[in-house]
Amino acid sequence: MTVRSYREALHDALRTELRRDESVFLLGEEIGRFEGSYKITAGLLDEFGPKRVRDTPIAEEGFTGAAVGAAMLGLRPVVEIMTINFSLLALDQIVNHAAKVYGMFGGQARVPMVIRTPGGGGQQLGATHSQNVELYYAFVPGMKVVAPSDPADAKALLLAAIRDDDPVLVLENLALYNTRGEVPDHDEPAPIGTARITRTGTDITLVAYSRMAAVALQVAERLAETDGIDAEVVDLRSLRPLDRDTVVASVRKTNCAVVLEDDWLTYGIGAEVAATISDGAFDWLDAPVRRVAMAEVPLPYAKPLETAALPSADDAIAAVRQTLDAVARRR
């Protein structure tokens, strides 16, 4: 075990795979000479050269599609899209091509590619640069979508994504890049498609992914200290496939749940989580499932407005308390 930042963990995984497998290569805007907008790829151009670390023009659709085509010929491209907002320009190549080629041709052509891209708001980047649209990919059969919340998972899930023979979107997060944690020294991938209980507890289940899964852990600790509430935290890790069983099993134990997410509430990822819990734990649930999510507005630049619109630990704590109140009223 070594303490690494989330950024370093991603970097380590890329470097490991570049060394291990000649067919792995990276492409994206500013990943080489500029060392990556968020420096995940720093140093890799020097070490592996421009063939393995390819700077691209600003052409998200073109280079993402080129990665799909290269993957069809057996290479394992790892695309960096600078932020998930810009992935919307490549959506046709991802949804209509990367995710379809395997099925549409009856299983003849594989698309072993990875798209790495950060989500996240909170940096005053305004309405078009602060969106969390992982939903667009998690919704699509044929895609796999993972969303690590700590350095260990960042490394292990990126390793898994690169070794997987399907298109995998790895959702990173601007606010997590500098967070630190223990990372195993070995290169074991984590299983795509499984959630993880990151804290066991008995009173309430918090379900989250990516940044909010990290927030959920803090919230649980604060609740334990201030309110003596023992929360269980489920980190989804994989948005597609979605590990419903782990979520439902937790709520069947705790009998109530709050879902935390950084995207908009209506139709957001949390909608599926709440619907799943309400269905699978119907007879166990003692209060409605609450969702804490972004306010449904084009995110403003001005700091006070942005802060008000983004979900916080305090919002989550309020939701937990209200949920436990509701449980108490009903018991």
């Binding site: 290569f25 063939k51 691209t56 023009p57 052409a59 659709e61 073109g62 280079f63 993402t64 599609g65 080129a66 990665a67 799909v68 085509g69 290269a70 993957a71 069809m72 010929l73 057996g74 290479l75 491209p77 046709d92 190549q93 209509n96 091509h97 080629v101 395997y102 099925g103 549409m104 041709f105 009856g106 299983g107 003849q108 052509a109 594989r110 698309v111 072993p112 059969p141 044929g142 796999k144 997987d164 023979d165 399907d166 299983p191 795509i192 498609g193 499984t194 994989s238 496939p241 979605l242 590990d243 419903r244 069983d245 439902v248 799943t276 269905d279 699978g280 119907f282 007879d283």
Partner: protein, 360 residues
């Protein structure tokens, strides 16, 4: 199938005699007739409701199909559009399997999953028909990148329609290919129309091959009704591509019928339609070979009968090929199995109630 002209990367045959020989000239004709008869049969099967979805035919494009396919090496890769039956045949896929795909059967070239628009065959490096206009262009560019990455001598040919030159993916892809010196030839099959819209109504530069200038790319326009002209042009283009100079080739031919089988093409005047029929490339090429002494009336009849028989056999094969079983519905969502994949029919619950009726 003749191999392409030489290129710095891999010499196959001397570059001095690029023209097609007599055998090739006749082979073009056989190929063109097969495509013609196949497409006519497909149209019939569609009206008989044996084929579903959209169905776009290569009627009028036969000379381009024949000349282009012959110019490729067997190891080259071909990316097509949804209008690809002829190219699939000419690439060497058995007509039975192409027809079975149209019928949506298990013996179809895509196992019945793709239909008319989405044929794929790894063996012949036929890299797929694609239904999203322009969608194949970045993919083909990426395939060329993979070739370059591995240092192979193969090349990619990417088909696209005239209307497709106006979409963003075309621009982004050609720039990447030229910037990275990829071994790819983009072939604009200019049939004068995108559905009902003419080239002049859609493209501010209607001489489409000239758009290559925006990427300092070589380009040419060629008569798509002449298989030898297409053959030569593709060979030249491929030679450049293999040497790291991607190429934009425009072939000009007509679309004899509507955009797809169901389109009556009312937007076209009687005169236009008549002119097209009069310039039918299959008939014109027959006259030419006849004049050159390569075709006789008997041979014409024989080739026609062969093609008709091949196509009839293909339809018969397709008719008797089994439909895919519903139990295979979840077989092709993922290549690497992972836990918790959703394998659920529409009527099935997320959380089934156990036999005893009590939730677990």
């Amino acid at each position: 199938m003749p191999t392409s002209t030489s290129a710095p990367r891999r010499r196959r045959r001397p570059p001095t005699n690029p023209a097609a020989d007599d055998a090739q000239l006749l082979a073009f004709y056989r190929q063109m007739v097969l495509v013609r008869r196949f497409e006519e049969r497909a149209a019939r099967a569609y009206t008989e409701a044996r084929i579903g979805g959209y169905c776009h035919l290569n009627l009028g494009e036969e000379a381009t199909v024949a000349g282009l396919a012959a110019a490729l090496d067997p190891t080259d890769y071909l990316f097509a559009t949804y209008r690809e039956h002829g190219y699939a045949l000419a690439r060497g896929i058995a007509p039975e399997r192409v027809m079975a795909e149209l019928y949506g059967r298990t013996d179809g070239v895509s196992g019945g999953w793709g239909g008319s628009m989405h044929m794929f065959d790894a063996d012949t490096r036929f890299m797929g028909g694609y239904g999203i206009v322009g969608g194949q262009v970045p993919l083909a560019t990426g395939a060329a990148l993979a070739i370059e990455y591995r240092g192979g001598g193969e090349a990619v040919v990417c088909l696209l329609g005239d209307g497709t030159t106006n979409i963003g993916a075309f621009h982004e892809s050609l720039n990447l290919a030229a910037l990275w010196h990829l071994p790819i030839v983009y072939v604009i099959v200019n049939n004068g129309l995108g559905m009902g819209t003419t080239v002049e109504q859609a493209s501010a530069e209607p001489e489409l091959h000239r758009r290559a200038a925006a990427y300092r790319m070589d380009s040419a326009r060629v008569d798509g009704n002449d298989p030898t002209a297409v053959y030569d042009a593709v060979r030249t283009a491929l030679a450049g591509a293999r040497a790291g100079r991607p190429y934009l080739l425009e072939t000009v031919s007509g679309r004899l019928k509507g955009h797809s089988v169901v389109d009556p093409a009312k937007y076209r005047s009687r005169a236009e339609a008549a002119a097209l029929a009069a310039a039918d490339p299959v008939a014109a090429y027959a006259v030419r070979l006849h004049g050159a002494g390569l075709l006789t009336d008997e041979l014409i009849a024989e080739i026609d009968a062969d093609a008709t028989a091949t196509v009839a056999a293909a339809a018969d094969f397709a008719e008797h090929s089994p439909h895919p079983d519903v139990s295979t519905l979840f077989d092709h969502t993922y290549a690497t199995p992972v836990p918790n994949d959703a394998r659920r029919l529409p009527g099935e619950p997320l959380f089934p109630v156990p036999a005893n009726g009590v939730p677990a």
